[in-house]
């Protein structure tokens, strides 16, 4: 049986500020659609939503012609880059905002979890907030009464339950919010990246609960996440969104593979031609080289050996003040999890000559990371590392493969395993 059905659903957004121009568009739209009975002229001019390129139109399609079905009891992961339309899709399904065109059919009650602790009031106690939050999510008072003890128990905030939420730590607020949502019993559950919060112990608990909900009770779940590990753990099927369109549908494993491949496709392009970058472009990276101890350019290096990374850039805005530059680069694993990061304001550096040299060099004395292929990404910002100050940011620029060797005990190679990337020198006594 089909639980959710998207029929050619599109969603258009208008960019920029609300101004008199908006008013004139609104009046023109009203005149043409309501009085002249014509089509909305602004529906024709939207552009594909590619956040990195500058467009001509102020109307963009956050979602365009989305068409798919989800069977009852299926657990579907929705993946894609930032701005691909994942959250918009969930918003439409949870009826926070309506589609511009097309229809969505859903069979059964929809519970949406786009945020934990919606409607929490800081002056009210934990217990009062459980009722409030539960009611907002669609539970009745009787239902909450019945589940109250379990919710409090799951949240692990029993001691604080009659204290106003404003005295809670942020982690406790999240726990309480998730606990309420975990006991929601809709036929269709819509979850946005809420598992990314809280400490490790809690995340484990939350993932476990999500598994119970989706596997044991035959409920349909739509789940958005950037964390490929949890998508892989939870979902049976996957939908890959790219620029507001469905680019792939299949099993979770295949979809994750496609997503990672899409991410890597860009690597083959010369750095200067890449468009999947963010930042205002005052400075653009043009090339990145890895050099081993001998100074040879490499893409593979043995575990435990030194590595020097040279990052070359062009200055597009001559007025840019590079003395305030903050360089951040790092390695992430194939699931997109960051494993190591080098941020210049945490590390001793000399950026006094950047303007002339047009290159930043990072030296890593020992590559103490488990043998695997890692993606290397860079980000240069001026003044602060907040997104508005970014000059250039590119996710995976190139790959670095770390080769197996013995580092702890001579002659004993490392095991080939997932995770446990940090190799901290140690000895059992």
């Amino acid at each position: 049986m089909t639980a959710i059905e998207f029929n050619h659903v599109s969603k258009q957004y208008r960019l920029g500020l609300v101004s008199t121009k908006t008013l004139s568009h609104d009046i023109r739209r009203w005149w043409l659609t309501s009085i002249m009975r014509q089509e909305d002229p602004y529906l024709k001019i939207g552009e594909t939503n590619d956040r990195a390129t500058k467009g001509n139109s102020e109307y963009v399609w956050a979602l365009r012609d989305i068409d798919f079905k989800v069977e009852q009891g299926d657990v579907v992961g929705i993946i894609g880059k930032n701005g691909a339309g994942k959250s918009t899709l969930l918003k439409l399904l949870s009826r926070v905002t309506g589609p511009t065109t097309g229809t969505i059919r859903a069979h059964g009650r929809i519970g949406s979890l786009l945020e934990v602790g919606t409607g929490f009031h800081s002056e009210m106690t934990g217990r009062e907030n459980i009722y409030m939050n539960g009611a907002i999510l669609g539970m009745t008072k009787a239902e909450i009464d019945r589940k109250l003890d379990e919710i409090i128990d799951f949240s692990g905030c029993e001691r604080y339950i009659d204290t106003p939420v404003k005295r809670y730590s942020s982690g406790m607020t999240v726990r309480l919010g998730f606990a309420v949502a975990a006991f929601l019993e809709p036929e269709i559950l819509v979850v946005d990246e809420v598992l990314a919060v809280g400490d490790a112990e809690f995340q484990k608990k939350a993932i476990g609960k999500m598994k119970d909900v989706s596997q044991g009770q035959g409920r349909t779940v739509l789940f958005v996440s950037h964390n490929m590990t949890s998508v892989k753990q939870l979902c049976k099927h996957g939908i890959l969104l790219e620029n507001g369109q469905v680019s792939f549908m299949g099993t979770a494993e295949d979809t994750i593979g496609k997503y990672l491949a899409v991410n890597l496709e860009d690597i083959d392009k010369p750095l200067a031609e890449r468009t999947d970058r963010r930042g205002d472009g005052r400075v653009r990276f043009t090339n990145v080289l890895f050099r081993n101890a001998k100074g040879d350019v490499v893409t593979e290096a043995f575990v435990g050996t030194p590595l020097t990374i040279e990052m070359y850039f062009d200055i597009n805005d001559p007025s840019v003040d590079l003395s305030k530059a903050i360089m951040a680069c790092g390695l992430s694993d194939s699931y997109g999890m960051s494993v190591a990061n080098w941020i210049s304001d945490e590390i001793e550096h000399d950026f006094s000559n950047l303007k002339d040299e047009k290159k930043i060099v990072l030296h890593i004395p020992a590559l103490n990371l488990r043998p695997q292929t890692y993606n290397f990404g860079v980000q240069l910002s001026i003044g602060s590392t907040s997104p508005k100050d970014w000059c250039d940011e590119i996710g995976p620029i190139s790959q670095l493969t770390i080769l197996n060797d013995s580092i702890f005990t001579p002659g004993v190679n490392l095991k080939d395993c997932r995770g446990h990337q940090a190799l901290v020198p140690a000895r059992y006594l």
Binding site: R95, V96, G102, G108, S112, H121, M124, E128, K141
Partner: protein, 275 residues
């Protein structure tokens, strides 16, 4: 369930609203509980504010400007006037903010949006009830000390008259709340409208004081006037009670509600994109 780009304009899903009745009650309850949290005087503020206004009114309008109150003790006259007007004005203000002030919650979860104006109208009943209690306390005091006060049988209509005011405020507020999601100008305008509206409503003076015929008609066209007059007539024995003009108020309310609901339904699907 089907999600479409647009809803029918006059649709109102009562079954769905009923399903969320617990949430409605919790919102009302929350507003009461948190109204004066972390204040020393707490709920006493519900009493202090109207009493202060009455003192000012009695001094300024009664003592300095010498505006008559048709032979009714000024304290009673003003208390009734400002309680009723205050309820109308606060309902109007809070319903007109329904979308903008709840944008956080509306952006994260769905429930029938119309519940928020309903909550606003209900929450304001609390401070109105307290002011009304003060009014009756004074009423008993004046009656006991020998002041001649008349109550008319129309007093049984009092709850309905208040309901009429609440619905009028809600209809009007919904129109404003729908329009302010995109253009905030109206929010600023509404504050001004309310502060001027009180002067064309017989709140601090009796309608009988307006002797100019044209002005009298113009004031009666204000849909709040007939209700205010009817309330004063039934409780204090002054003012006028006219079924015809009350019918007019009811008609205006109905039109405002229908129009408000249409706009509200039109906006509620897309307002998160523009708020």
């Amino acid at each position: 369930m089907t999600i479409t780009p647009r809803d029918r304009l006059l649709a109102l899903d009562w079954r769905e609203i009923w399903r969320y009745r617990d949430m409605f009650m919790l919102f009302v309850d929350r507003a009461f509980r948190t109204a004066y949290k972390q204040t020393i005087l707490g709920p006493l503020w519900f009493i202090i504010t109207p009493v202060l206004s009455v003192i000012v009114y009695v001094t300024v309008f009664g003592g300095i400007a010498n505006i008559p109150t048709d032979g009714v003790p000024p304290v009673l006259f003003y208390l009734l006037g400002i309680s009723v007007w205050g309820y109308f004005a606060s309902c109007l203000t809070s319903t007109s903010n329904s979308f903008v002030s709840n944008a956080d919650i509306f952006g994260k979860v769905y429930f029938p949006r119309i519940i928020m104006p309903m909550v606003a109208v209900t929450v304001n009943l609390l401070s109105f009830a307290i002011q009304l209690a003060i009014f009756f306390a004074f009423y008993i005091y004046y009656a006991a000390t020998g002041t001649d006060l008349t109550i008319h049988w129309q007093v049984v209509l009092f709850p309905f008259l208040m309901l009429l005011l609440a619905l009028m405020a809600m209809g009007f507020g919904m129109i404003f709340s729908s329009l302010t999601t995109k253009y905030r100008d109206l929010q600023i305008m509404l504050a001004k409208i309310i502060s001027l509206w009180v002067y064309v409503t017989p709140v601090i003076y009796p309608l009988s004081m307006v002797t100019n015929d044209k002005l009298h008609l113009a004031m009666s066209l204000n849909p709040v006037t007939p209700v205010m007059e009817a309330i004063k007539y039934s409780l204090l024995g002054v003012g006028q009670f006219s079924w015809l003009w009350l019918g007019y108020s009811a008609l205006v309310t109905l039109i405002l509600l229908i129009f408000g609901l249409m706009l509200f339904n039109k906006v509620q699907k897309s307002f998160m994109d523009t708020v």
